[in-house]
């Protein structure tokens, strides 16, 4: 199972939309996929019409693979399951604080779970907490959506420095531009500069699109209601590029 964490220190950058659409495309491609909605806001769960409610307490969820398995729900799509969010997930950091060797809790729990899925996509909450450290320790691949703004790039630098300092050498950190407005000169310039400097940036980006905003209305991945929309095409291209990197 390959673990792909969709993560950003900053909120509102398109993590959830990317998690939902990429996990859907992976399943459509024939990969048995699981999306874990770790964000207490529960937006991914909402997009799949699944109640953001978990059975059992949160401590068990992060320490016992059997609790994870019990809470998995089938989505409306073949090969795609979801581990829903719960508002109580906001307390995860407090719980992790109480556990010894807390940086490796998730790694241990997930290594014990059954090898049922080809991919685990994690929709991570924003911020930088103990949970983030756990996620960086367990993920094979961290995918960071970046809005082409100075603040967004600054938070990305913070993450890169942390990974370098902590010597998380095995971790593959990649980013892609999200909510790109091609009409804005600044967006174009920032993207061009960043892409010229960096190797670990995906070439495909997600443009600003009303089709993505409509996900909340349709409660499905973009592909289902706007297959030919710019956003749907962009997610498909992003998935193809990501798939090549993963294999």
């Amino acid at each position: 199972m390959k673990i792909v964490a969709l993560y950003s220190i900053k909120g509102g950058v398109g993590k959830t939309a990317a998690s939902v659409n990429l996990s859907y495309l992976a399943a459509k491609c024939g990969f048995m996929s699981l999306l874990w909605d770790l964000d207490p806001q529960g937006a991914s769960s909402y997009y799949f019409r699944i109640k953001p409610k978990l059975k059992g307490n949160i401590k068990k969820l992060i320490t016992k693979s059997s609790t994870i398995e019990k809470n998995i729900k089938g989505t409306d799509f073949n090969m795609l399951d979801l581990l829903p969010a719960d508002f109580a997930l906001r307390k995860v950091d407090l719980l992790l604080n109480e556990i010894k060797k807390s940086k490796n809790v998730l790694k241990k729990t997930l290594s014990n779970s059954k090898d049922e899925y080809d991919f685990l996509f994690i929709d991570c909450p924003p911020g930088f907490t103990l949970l983030t450290e756990n996620l960086l320790g367990v993920a094979d691949f961290v995918l960071v959506p970046l809005i082409p703004t100075i603040l967004s790039l600054r938070t990305y630098e913070m993450l890169s420095n942390y990974i370098r300092d902590e010597k998380l050498n095995k971790l593959k950190l990649f980013s892609f531009f999200s909510i790109v407005d091609r009409r804005k000169k600044m967006h174009k310039e920032i993207m061009a500069d960043f892409m010229a400097d960096r190797k670990n940036i995906l070439h495909n980006y997600i443009p600003y699109s009303s089709a993505v905003e409509k996900m909340g209305y349709h409660k499905t991945p973009v592909e289902l209601y706007g297959m030919n929309s710019v956003a749907a095409v962009a997610y498909r291209n992003l998935w193809e590029e990501l798939k090549d990197l993963l294999y």
Binding site: F48, K51, G74, D76
Partner: protein, 510 residues
């Protein structure tokens, strides 16, 4: 694990079905799509008899092992459905198929035209909590059934067990019945397709108190049935197992006539011995060719890749000869001579005129004569073994092997008279001994066959450049094998001897 339940729907209740579910959930129906299923099995129903189904629709070929979809075996085919396992693409599917069918051909046993309606059941949040598939079976070909059946499948969604149970309950109340076990086996059963109960193995329940005459007739009747069942498959040259089973029954019949002396009178024995000898001899070449083709294909495994092509002229020659020989066989089976033999044999076996045909020990109770026959045959095996010890020659080894085979046949005839564990041990021991004795001879036959064909094709200039190298390579491998064939039959014989001298064996058999 995703749960599934299957129901047969009562036709007049289709409206109730939708309205009952609609009370609690929202139903979303898809367009009805036509679907054509083809079902395949071997002649002896190896799939159906093992609770499995081999089904093809569109390009998909699926082996339904049970109701859990993840345990199914699947392949996508662009070509027509092959008849033999080896003609499928190399895959896990082929490996599994091979374990079930072996060398048997697979053929269509039924095809169904149906219309399929898929329904999503949504909860208040508009989330799909279960899927329902209704299959309206409209027409059944091959067996001419016209019965229309509606099958409802409820497929659960992970994490929505309560909803699944509630829908199962709703449908359970209005459906005609719940289908348990393999879905397709049940559906085919409802449409009248049942597995064929065929086995070439002797499975005749005998009574110890019965007369030997009556009991032996029952055994011979079973073998006659096997002979007749396999005629059509031989005529159509469907697969090699038809002729194999046919010949085993002919050989057993001959063995019964020669070994069970005194059960029938001499006139009958002499008459039919000649007939069955004729049938055995008439089928020898065809069976040899079947075995040669299997053997030469196995030789491919022994060869380096670049030498495999050298076997092509030999395989082509064998296939051509086989086709010719099977045409001859079809003529034989349609001939008046063959029909007369079978007809008269059948008349005799079904005849009530005991006085006319019974031999001197025919009216004795079966257990007494059966034990005497087994005892006599064991003595014959012992004698042959002693002769082999005196002169260790292939000929004596072959005689001992034949003696073992005869004893095994007799024990198989009367198997139902003996405790199963004792019978099983004895037959297993005999089989191992027989196999060990046959290794040397079998390799010799393979060498002779290969050289004969090689010389024949060489004289006709029909070999390719690689054939001499391929044949030379195989001959060396076979000679090496023959050299290392350990004479471990002594150990196996001792084991067998120890077994038949055990008290438990002597008490029931000798």
């Amino acid at each position: 694990m995703v749960k599934s339940k299957f129901f047969v729907l009562r036709k007049d209740n289709a409206d109730d079905f939708f309205s009952s579910i609609n009370r609690k959930y929202t139903i979303e129906e898809s367009e009805t799509d036509p679907i054509y299923y083809e079902f395949y099995d071997t002649f002896d129903s190896r799939f159906l008899n093992s609770g499995m189904i081999l089904v093809k629709y569109d390009k998909n070929v699926i082996i339904h092992r049970n109701d859990a979809e993840r345990n199914n075996c699947f392949i996508s085919l662009d070509s027509n459905m092959p008849s033999f396992c080896n003609d499928f693409p190399d895959s896990d599917f082929r490996n599994f198929l091979s374990g079930v069918v072996g060398d048997r051909a697979i053929s269509k046993i039924a095809s169904i035209y149906a219309e399929r309606n898929q329904i999503n059941v949504r909860n208040k949040e508009a989330k799909i909590v279960a899927r329902i598939e209704i299959l309206y079976i409209k027409n059944m070909f091959e067996i001419g059934a016209r019965k229309e059946i509606e099958i409802v499948t409820i497929k659960g969604i992970r994490g929505y067990d309560k909803e699944f149970s509630s829908i199962v309950k709703i449908i359970g109340e209005i459906a005609e019945g719940l289908i348990r076990g393999n879905y397709w086996i049940n559906v085919l059963g409802m449409l009248g397709v049942k597995p064929r109960k065929y086995s070439a193995k002797l499975d005749v329940k005998l009574s110890a108190a019965d007369t030997s005459y009556h009991a032996v007739k029952l055994i011979l009747l079973h073998m006659l049935n096997v002979i007749m069942i396999n005629e059509e498959g031989i005529k159509k040259n469907i697969d090699t197992e038809f002729l194999h089973d046919f010949r085993v029954s002919v050989r057993r019949t001959r063995s019964a006539l020669t070994q069970l002396m005194g059960v029938f009178n001499d006139t009958i024995v002499q008459r039919f011995r000649t007939d069955f000898e004729f049938l055995q001899e008439s089928t020898n070449i065809a069976r040899d060719l079947d075995v040669y083709i299997i053997t030469v294909n196995q030789f491919k495994e022994l060869l380096p890749k670049e030498l495999v092509v050298g076997l092509s002229p030999i395989i082509d020659y064998l296939i051509c000869e086989k086709l010719r020989e099977y045409r001859e066989l079809a003529l034989l089976l349609a001939s008046s001579r063959y029909k007369k033999i079978i007809h008269e044999w059948k008349l005799f076996l079904n005849s009530d005129n005991t006085d006319k045909y019974v031999g001197e020990c025919g009216l004795e109770p079966l257990n007494r004569t059966a034990n005497a026959f087994v005892f006599k045959s064991i003595k014959s095996v012992n004698k042959r073994y002693e002769r082999l010890l005196e002169r260790d020659e292939p000929e004596n080894m072959h005689r001992l092997r034949i003696g073992c085979k005869k004893l095994r046949y007799i024990m198989e005839f009367f198997a139902s008279l003996y405790p199963y564990s004792i019978y099983k041990k004895a037959v297993k021991s005999l089989k191992s001994l027989q196999d060990a004795l046959g290794v040397y001879q079998d390799i010799q036959v393979q060498k002779n066959m290969l050289m004969d064909i090689f010389e024949k094709l060489k004289s006709k200039n029909k070999l390719n450049d690689v054939t001499p190298l391929s044949v030379g390579y195989i001959m060396r491998v076979l000679e090496d094998k023959q050299r290392v064939t350990a004479s471990d039959f002594n150990v196996l014989y001792d084991k067998f001897n120890a077994l038949i001298n055990k008290k438990e064996f002597k008490e029931v058999i000798v």
